[in-house]
Symmetry: C2
Subunit: 249 residues, 2 copies
């Protein structure tokens, strides 16, 4: 079992041990990430990691209590990295919530295409024998989603969600579907209007679906670069959602 993060005095200037521990923790994770990317996600092996890092396997247990804990740490890192990236791009896009949504979706693809194995770890088929601990992953795993909902809500409150389009969209969808979304809305985002939530779900599934196809190579036979197609899909999704183009404001 690894000792808890090194006593009380961690805020004072870090000791040699503490710096080494941080460096090695990072190196272990980096090597693990690289091996997953090279040999497939399920191929993660503590022994292989230890070999490459240049230490005995048993020493890894000073840093991660088990293989599963290493996987969890990698998951937390991936969720954090993609959310940080998306948030930074959204901030850079300025105050307009529709600009923010565009930036968020584009940034999400950007990170995912650049880190396909990270994307696979988060959204692909789960690793055999690994059970994800919800208490450690839930908050960090929903950051990007939460950001999208927040942006659509902002746009809605700013009157940027065209009433007619949103109403038509709601009417065009089967009641069974809308009811399910509404049930989820009540539990999770009760401050939002149903129209806004339905529209967000629609955008998210379209783009996440397209992205998973791209990252997992299913578009490759037809498209050499899915970038333009994705960009067009983002615009279509925004338009279909009834989110007024900020260019025309």
């Amino acid at each position: 079992m690894p000792p808890a993060s090194s006593s009380t005095r961690s805020s004072a200037r870090p000791t040699l041990r503490e710096r080494r521990r941080q460096d090695l923790t990072a190196e272990i994770k980096t090597v693990a990430r690289r091996q997953m990317a090279d040999s497939g996600l399920a191929a993660l092996s503590l022994r292989a990691v230890a070999r490459e890092v240049g230490m005995a396997v048993s020493a890894l247990y000073r840093y991660f209590g088990s293989r599963d804990e290493l996987v969890t740490a990698l998951l937390v890192d991936a969720f954090t990295a993609v959310a940080d990236h998306v948030e930074a791009r959204v901030t850079a896009a300025g105050a307009d919530p529709v600009d923010g949504l565009r930036a968020a979706m584009t940034a999400f693809r950007e990170w995912s295409v650049a880190n396909p194995s990270g994307y696979g770890l988060m959204y692909g088929t789960p690793l055999p024998d690994y059970v994800a601990p919800p208490d450690r992953l839930l908050a960090v795993g929903t950051r990007v989603g939460a950001l999208l909902y927040r942006l659509v809500d902002e746009a809605d409150r700013a009157g940027r969600l065209e009433a007619g389009v949103a109403r038509d969209r709601l009417a065009a969808l089967p009641v069974e579907h809308v009811d399910q979304v509404d049930a989820w809305r009540r539990r999770r985002v009760p401050q939002m209007r149903l129209e806004a939530v339905v529209v967000t779900v629609d955008m998210w599934t379209r783009l996440q679906g397209l992205l998973s196809m791209e990252v997992f190579g299913q578009l490759a036979p037809v498209l050499t670069d899915a970038g333009p197609y994705f960009a067009a899909a983002v615009e279509t999704a925004l338009r279909d959602a009834g989110l007024a183009d900020p260019a025309t404001r």
Copy 2:
């Protein structure tokens, strides 16, 4: 190494040995499928299969030359099963190509939701260490796709692809994207018009994307049953493609 499929006289009434061989081959595959579904795709193990079938591991080698050959056989079976199912539904839908498309997409989801691990095997993250032999999988793996292209082509030739909508769609997409699709079209379906191919790619990616999200459980937090949503997405895809609703013919 397994002997080739039992001599020259296989068309005469089957001998006892031949029947047993067929039965056991089927049973091995069934057990393997079940274990993959239960314990995760990557968890397929010859020894575990042999244990459950009740024979020595070594005996499996009379039926499949290696673990990879078993995986390949499972893949061929899955591709065949889903394509058979889709084709049957399309045939049952009658001669109208738009009805056919609707039936094809619905049937594809139907099979995939009923056989999530089969879907995962075909379209999910690849198994570690397994390399798919293209010569055995290409033909069978493209059957459903080929059927969709054929149906859209039929619809197009029957004047069911609304010229205005198709042209607008083409114009709305970035040239870089359309060029990539056109390059693929020239190589693979040169008899089809570009508009028809672009529209097919669009339909396929939308539905496959949505489906992969459903099967891999990413919709589960929000939707308890994605059926209605999928059905609506099918109609939207057909409408956006400019495929005239047969109800109005």
